[in-house]
Symmetry: C2
């Protein structure tokens, strides 16, 4: 592939499409800032607890030792520790530290980033190759060497995370050391793989390098990286990956991305691939590919997404299930899959301006994603079920029955969570053109400030809200710097927000749900708009093909999905066997507990079932007794298992 | 352990408790014989197709090559093939061939048994050790040797299957060659493991050796084997097994067998262990252990058994789920687990005379077990879900989405099915004492003859029935040889058979379901009784804690559970989205298709759901339309997927 260099991206966040390729543009790092509220508390825990603890874990779990062995600086007798993708934890942590530095510089973060950059650089081979686990195996132990087991080696997966980390460090700190390492490795990949003479026609079993390469292109302007990513997206789906007794489905290798109609197989692989394909489609202007991704996203949402936003229902193969196969108790819903889902949704939003993508991202960011981490920020779930049964014994080391854990043998989730909190500000808002109107778009709501360029001027907005606890969002134009005429301020009205209203200059009007509410004016400092989102408790049911949730409702309030936890129920209530009374009123109670949430109280019944001798019984036999009338208390699903792990459920039977 | 020798068992079938240790005694091999009907057809397919094909598979899959490598007779360059428990397939096949020879001798079967016995004997090491895969690894490749990886090596698992096969060959053919091999290996195990000086305190990760050792004791009279089995049962549950990153739960090693209150972990391991423990409890007169097993069986039935009798709901770890965790679509319900369930139930029945155990065994034998094999006898399912969804793509190589298969890389199920069909006659009846009355007990119904000893006399019964297609079972006393006074003929009335009647000497009276109906007389040749079981279609519902089946019914008729298969439905019906009308009559249609079954026709509706954009929607939103009124057709679950694999479901939503 020939090398051409184009201008680096002007805007830069967790994904920074080349200007002109997407209608919506991310803001520059630091241009949007969460200043308080629920998410700010989570970000503080991430900065103060998770990132420092993570730095220690990389040492104690052996990730850094691996790099030192590759660098030849490890103590005599040190041995390489697995799993094979250990390097990726270092890169994800570096990415988290970089974005966190961008949010608020600190000498400690800078020092850590420099230290780890030096460790990574020292481990890199002369020719640019880098994967500390494979390097140690290379030849010396008679084990497979470089690129000899691509279905499982995760070498390009690690590379992809390195690229993302290097771009983050470059954007957030301006330092280029890690970017140099990334470029050398990317060049090595580009030389090795492709359709050219002497090149290998192979792709990695675990996507993410596609996203990483496109970002590296955006940061360096080196078009070969985009072309390699594009080639990888196109090569996949042709049964190119063989090995480990796994079906092509597992690797998202059964159908080409541009022909696929759904997501399938290993969920994290699937959504990392589609997110990378969205990056490729964006940069290459490939509307056919983008449309195919849109269809897959729609099918995922309509048939394979939990009400919590969780993705991937199967423990086995960590995979998407068949359509409507969404068990609550055995929901896998890996935390990393929610993160991949957010990344995909964000890229689709930038490319299309369609509110549904932000809706899904918000659902994940307030439910399925934060459930994966404790309020303290440093204890994690790998797996996020929607029901936890009484009498559950851990049969797997990732089981929530073990409680939240400080790290995992396979530690993909913790640093992935860290980098998501650290880059969350970047998802708040965009500038650019929505439905033909230039301006600023607000996608997620939190107390925040947003600076953006509009028509050559710089505007600064201040957002005041107690969302998601309350539904009022006030946006004030704090500053307009430079000359600009009319422009459009757009606020997303979530799909659930039927009856929302927007007040502009004292004029209140209803705005439709699932779309952007816009006001076009020549804005001046001091102008304000107010969005009012209805926060009445909502009852949702599942599509009737979701067998597990038949005859049940989920409680939602604002963007939050609720759950019953055993610990909140009066004595005698068995969460496994409650029935809720949907006709009775649900009352709200604000509490400072659990990070400050709104509790919901509802009426129901518990118990009264006969003790059956089998799990089936005659349909015309005695019905269960009425049970005991009880008041039940529900908490946001996001905060479950912060008081130990006990019976919990999201879907509540109604009869 | 000291060695004592007691008298070999007088009666001998698939499990042959020492006389006097159980109230019910199995009949001698050949004493009960299925002579026609549904099961006879299955046995014929097993004899004519499965066993000969299985003989070829052992060659082509490499099992016999492994043995020849251990024997030093393999061709130059031959290599050992995995998985590690390959030998057990040979043993299970030998057991099947032996019981089949017992049913009807044939020179071909005798020749095969002798050939394979010679192969096994040649592979055995000088000191009695035998495991061809481990023997090849032993030292030469620097891989772990004997007993070095007991959590995973399956060495004693293979030994257990060898013991069962050797006992079967001895009982059914009278030849002792395989028994000699078994005894040498059992002695090697007995020397190596235990609490004695220089012995290892370790057990195998996969039970079955317990059953095998007790049977070997019963066949040889060598009490050390019983003592070793007892020691293994007692040692388990103390966290004795460590390795492979698996929880103790997986290995049934979290709680001691006599303290456990449920079954958990890998389902086949769990029920093989409890079946072996039942053998130990029986032989040692350990009523406390037997009571503990009874409690575990009850809990399994009440919370962890599918309506099909399927056991082990989880794909992940092939494990029992939590109580009431019984998904239909992702039911694992391994065929081997149903077989283990039958073995356990049979041992509990012998030990207690309680009808519920025979009820469960019958449910498995007519539903969950036969679903694992095609009508042709030689194509198999490893996994037996209760629902197969439209749009399902295989994500695992054991997925039913691949269709039935002639063999598996992990081929535990096919020869396990073969030995079960070949030994099925042994489960029909017992002699002995039921509720204090001596006589003959009929547990399973098929056209058959049953010979038994009662009070020193020999009686022969002939059973005429078209069960399970029809509910009339006529039992005629064909012959009484010798002097005997009054004795009791007992017929099991299944738990579902409310309104059953027994006619004795023209006198018809209702008999309670879930118990044995008995008649005590001085029976003479020509006497007959007739049991009438009500064959009206029954609707069952699930315990309301089984979320997956909420608001649904299962159709049952006699011992058969029914399923809707897509192929039988009129155009436009979507099995994934049907609703059945439980008020409308269900009609029956007898057909010669599918081996000769009764089809059920019922009314329902299909379709009419809105195409949702997500899997959840407002509970107060538009309800699905009524859909299209349709006639649905159900077939016995046992015969599903004999016309390709398509959408199928057992639990049918009612609204």
């Amino acid at each position: 592939m020939t090398s051409t260099t184009s201008t680096p991206a002007a805007s830069a966040g967790p994904a920074a499409p080349t200007p002109g390729t997407t209608p919506l543009r991310p803001l520059a790092p630091g241009a949007a800032r969460i200043t308080g509220g629920w998410w700010a508390d989570r970000q503080r825990a991430n900065r103060e607890n998770a990132i420092p603890t993570g730095r220690e874990r990389l040492e104690s779990a052996g990730n850094l030792t691996n790099l030192r062995i590759a660098a030849g600086t490890a103590p005599e007798g040190a041995t390489v520790t697995g799993p094979i993708f250990m390097d990726s934890d270092v890169y994800k942590w570096l990415e988290a530290a970089a974005w966190e530095f961008g949010r608020e510089p600190s000498e400690q973060l800078r020092g850590w980033i420099r230290e780890l950059t030096a460790e990574v650089a020292a481990a890199q081979a002369e020719d640019g190759y880098l994967d500390s686990v494979v390097q140690e195996q290379d030849g010396s132990l008679g084990r497979p060497g470089r690129y000899s087991d691509l279905p499982w080696s995760h070498e390009m997966y690690c590379a992809g995370h390195l690229f993302q980390a290097a771009v983050a460090v470059s954007r957030a700190t301006g330092e280029k050391g890690l970017l140099d390492v990334a470029v050398r490795l990317a060049d090595h990949l580009d030389t090795t793989f492709g359709d050219g003479d002497g090149q290998r026609r192979d792709v990695d079993g675990h996507p993410v390098v596609e996203m990483g390469l496109v970002e590296l292109f955006r940061e360096t302007g080196e078009r070969r990286y985009l072309e390699l990513a594009s080639w990888m997206v196109e090569a996949r789906g042709t049964g190119i990956i063989e090995g480990h007794g796994k079906e092509p489905t597992y690797f998202s290798d059964r159908v080409r991305v541009r022909e696929a109609t759904t997501v399938e197989g290993h969920a994290v692989r699937a959504v990392y691939l589609t997110a990378g394909a969205a990056d490729v489609a964006t940069e290459t202007g490939d509307t056919e590919l983008l449309a195919a991704l849109g269809r897959q996203f729609d099918h995922m949402l309509a048939t394979k997404t939990y009400v919590t936003g969780g993705l991937g229902s199967r423990w086995d193969m960590e995979a998407f299930g068949d359509p409507y196969e969404l068990p609550s108790d055995r929901a896998y819903a890996e935390t990393c899959a929610a993160i991949g889902g957010i990344q995909w949704a964000w890229r689709m939003l930038l490319a299309t301006g369609e509110a549904k993508y932000a809706d899904v991202a918000e659902r994940m960011l307030h439910n399925g994603f934060p459930a994966g981490v404790s309020l303290s920020g440093d204890e994690y779930f790998y797996v996020n079920p929607l029901q936890f049964r009484d009498g559950s014994h851990a049969n797997e080391n990732r089981s929530p029955a073990h409680g939240r854990r400080g790290w995992f043998d396979c530690a993909c989730c913790p640093p992935n969570i860290m980098r998501t909190w650290s880059s969350l500000d970047g998802y708040l808002a965009t500038s650019g053109s929505l439905d033909g109107a230039d301006g600023v778009q607000l996608h997620l709501y939190a107390p925040s400030t947003v600076s953006a360029e509009v028509g050559g001027a710089r505007v600064r907005l201040e957002v005041e809200t107690d969302y998601p606890r309350e539904g009022s969002v006030r946006v004030r134009v704090a500053e307009v710097e430079g000359e600009v005429g009319e422009w459009t301020l757009s606020l997303r009205v979530p799909g659930w927000a039927r009856g929302a209203s927007l007040t502009v200059a004292g004029d209140r009007h209803e705005v439709p749900a699932g779309a952007y509410a816009s006001a076009t004016r020549t804005w001046a400092a001091g102008d304000a708009v107010e969005l009012d989102l209805p926060m009445e408790v909502r009852l949702s049911r599942a599509d009737r093909r979701v067998d597990d949730a038949r005859g049940s409702v989920a409680l939602e309030r604002g963007p939050l999905v609720y759950a019953l936890e055993q610990v909140d129920q009066p004595a005698g209530v068995v969460v496994d066997d409650v029935v809720v009374d949907t006709a009775a009123p649900v009352t709200e109670e604000r509490t400072d507990a659990l990070g400050g949430v709104v509790l919901l109280h509802l009426r129901g019944r518990s118990g009264g079932h006969e003790a059956g001798s089998a799990t089936w019984l005659p349909a015309d036999g005695a019905r269960p007794g009425a049970g005991q009338d009880v008041e039940l208390t529900a908490v946001p699903y996001a905060v479950w298992a912060n008081r130990g792990v006990g019976p919990m459920r999201v879907w509540l039977p109604t009869s």
